[in-house]
Amino acid sequence: MIKLFFTIATRYLLKNKLYSFINIFGLAIGVASFILIMLYVDYERSYDKFEGSQHVYRVYMDYLEGNSFVPGDAQTYNLSGPTLKREFPGVLDYVRFYYIEKATFVLGDRIFEQPMGSMADASYFNVFGYPLLKGNHKTALSEPNTIVLSQTLAKKLFGDQNPMQKTVTVVLDGDEVVLTVTGLMKDIPKNVHFRNNYLISYATENTWDFFDEAQTKLNFNMNNYYTYLKIDENANIASLKDKIINSDFDEDEEERHNIEPIEDIHLYSDKPYEVSVNGSATRIKFLSAIAFIILILSWLNYINLSTTKSLERAKETGIRKVVGAHRWQLVLQSIMESTLLNTIAIMVGIIASFMLLPIYNSLTENKLEINLSSFTSLFPIFGFIFLGMFLAGLYPAFLLGDYKATKALKGEVRTSSKGVLIRKGLIVTQFLATIILIIGTMVVTKQIHFLQNQPIGAELNQIVALKGEIVTNKSDSLLSNDYKLLADELKDLPFVENITFAQTYPGDSFDNLGSSRGITLPNGVQNLSTVYYVYDVQPEYFELLDIPFVVGNTFLPNDSGDSNQIAVNETFVKEMGFNSPEELIGRKLKFWGNNEWVVTGVFKDYHHFGLKDKVLPLLVKHQRDVNNLLVKLDPTATSTAGFTTAIDQIQNKWNQIFTKSTFNYAFLDKKFEAHYKEDKTFGKAFQVFTVLAILIASLGLFGLSSYTCVQRRKEIGIRKVNGASITQILKLLNIDFIKWVGLAFIVAVPIAWYVMNKWLEGFAYKTAMSWWIFAFAGISALAVAILTVSWQSFQAAITNPVDALKDQ
């Protein structure tokens, strides 16, 4: 019998091609979207999982802001780790990292820059469960001047040779060190927030000129180290955290140590000086919600369509009943059909998600892949999908069994008013979700547009930052002379408009930027609590970047090119408690010991940290020898030849002066945009899935409207015979749908408003949720509804009533 049912089901699906297609299509979209989103969500949640990772915590600093502590710095002191281990038995071990963003590797004639590596304590392999392929995990990092390489880096350096005991020179800011390879580790997976390509033993600090005494001496002054703790699995984390928070080893009331699980860092941490750009739990929550909404929408859709269809099949059901089919047999057959259809849909959905993955990846700039492990991790998801589909198949099945045979035969079936209510509820829910998604997409898009068009407070276009590592025996001052020579040569290039030296620039965020606390103001007040940020530039910096001064002006160096001058931003003036910027001009600031700087100007606030974060107090110091170049290109001169040739010519000059060196450049505007790249991606994903949700919802509506038209066939006929025009019939049929969309709209607006408000809270600068967003969402949902419904209504309205009203 099962086999017979199966045959019937197959035939039925083949016969009703449009119905089958719409159904399979809708479900497959739901399944594919769900899988794609869940792949991403799973990936984002898979960060920093390794053997024992649940017992590893990162130490970070909280800073006092007003009356409460806020996360202030992801980096800690070199004393933090040792002290915590000594004081708390629950802390089994610690490992400190001094992060090296970019170092230059020299091997014979070869010289190249290698991003992302660290100085690390020998305890690294005890705390982190990443396996060592070669070398002893206890001793690999215990001696000075040793290095552990990742497989990729080892291959890059030594090819297929055994890297062990080989030596390589590493250069940082001109300071060289020769290192012996004592270990080979697997490449750190992508889903790790701290991805080291190499580890240099911590003890190397003492032999490498790059580190000075002030840095290497154990202290609670310079927080440049990431510290991770391995905690006893029996320790009470809450009380340990409490004890750490309330301890005060560094005798500084304004800050405190704190800990967080390493597994939470990627999604929940967004502190200053993060080692890498992290993900966002909010985004993950939003995307998960969208995934579930789409999947549920596609199920609702299926229920809608199949009940519609079962109505059309009422006569068939009636005949079956008359010839003696049991109710359960009808139900079973219906479930067979839905299982068949859903299985096909899931297959299509899975295949589609595989095929769409590259497109999805390029659209959202992800690098997701489906491999065996991601596939098995998706098993619960598949289970969930199957269960949902089975349940979705039940409702129409039981509905079918319910029809009275005699009535069904006469074509007089109508579902109970409860059934109608359920279907209306389904449609309202679908539209509710759709409207919320439309509003959400629009708010996200508007916010990104807002960010992109927000004045940065500086002109970043056509400015290139040049940086490189120079391998040379020259002294610092001689090297600076070379830089100045280069600057002069570059100025002579026809397309170079202006040039300056600066340690960092707007949008570079916390990179290359010093943070500090403790300053003596001109009025004698000592401020110990406000965190401020400092970097060095040369006088032309402000002009080159178009950063205007509110009062005062840029630096005026003396004849030898030196000065002790400084400029501050408006936020600094405000946060330090001055009423007007004038109060600072020509007066002295004292910080970093007894060093004094004279304020020559207060410049307008600009967004150094991107637009997601608020403006922080900035001090911009004059410095004679800064070696990072900012070059402003002439847009007209470069537009013809293109930027690449311009960069090529610049690199030529660079290589002429620095014969043994690496060369790096970055366009400032691109770098600034990178701050909200993730949000842009999110916005795109949001858009795509909203369109899919709309598509699914309109399929559902299409189903329901065809159902309504079938059910109201007789009524339409009667009304037409009694003189109703086509327009009047259309109005009659459409008004209900419009009411439902209206109802959905009323419910959707406050929900969407609340949810999107929450999302916007993640931005320091946010766009307004204008009324027209809501209006547009409502109107477009209505338009989609009317268009979908009208096609069917129109068919119904133009049918000759004679056909509908034939007497038996």
Partner: protein
């Protein structure tokens, strides 16, 4: 003259062949006529009625209604003509189940630009005339077949049509109820309403002033 059918042919194409539903129908109906159409099942009675009621078209011939040639009229004009002059009564009543008696009566008026107050008056008048005031708030399912058909006739009459087309109006009724409807028709006819009815019953046919016999779509 109310309407005139001249050499009306109607056919459908089935399997590449013409199947004739109506063949060479010629019929003149004067105002005040009462015609009964008879014939075996499938002989084309309903088809003919629908053609006269403008619910259905035809393939050949001429149809004039009140001096206007229906076959050349635009859809809109035809709809106006239909709305103003024709009322339909069906074998299975075709009342709207979701509407009360009163609302069913009011329904055609909604499509004919009557004011609210006028509609109320007209509905009240009909309820009165058919003695169903007491049933005005009931739903069709709560009425007997005879009562339902009474409402059906009342609804056909409510906008004062000149012509009532009734397709086996008593087909679902018992003899008492049939009798009642037939007498109602006779009464209406006396008041000047033209009536064309399809019937299987010899007795009911006798209420008509003329009887037309159909066989295989042809008048005999």
């Amino acid at each position: 003259m109310l309407l005139e059918l001249k050499n009306i042919f109607k056919w459908v194409n089935s399997g590449g062949q013409r199947v004739f539903l109506l063949k060479d129908i010629n019929l003149k109906v004067d105002e005040g006529d009462f015609i009964s159409i008879m014939g075996p099942s499938g002989s084309g009675k309903s088809t003919l009625l629908n053609v006269m009621g403008m619910l259905d078209g035809f393939n050949e011939g001429e149809y004039n209604f009140l001096e206007q040639s229906v076959h050349t009229l635009k859809e809109k004009k035809r709809a106006t003509l239909y709305k103003e002059y024709i009322g339909f009564v069906f074998q299975s009543y075709h009342l709207l189940d979701e509407l009360t008696v009163q609302e069913n009566l009011e329904m055609p008026l909604l499509y004919k630009k009557f004011k609210g107050s006028e509609r109320k008056a007209m509905v009240a008048d009909m309820l009165d005339r058919f003695n169903i005031v007491g049933k005005k708030d009931l739903f069709p399912a709560q009425l007997s077949g005879g009562q339902q058909q009474l409402v059906g006739v009342a609804r056909a009459l409510i906008a004062n049509p000149k012509l009532i087309l009734a397709d086996e109006p008593t087909g679902n009724l018992n003899s008492n109820q049939s009798e009642e409807i037939m007498q109602l028709f006779q009464q209406l006819n006396k008041e000047g309403v033209t009536i064309i009815q399809v019937t299987h019953s010899e007795k009911n046919a006798q209420y008509g002033k003329r009887i037309i016999q159909l066989l295989d779509g042809r008048m005999v």
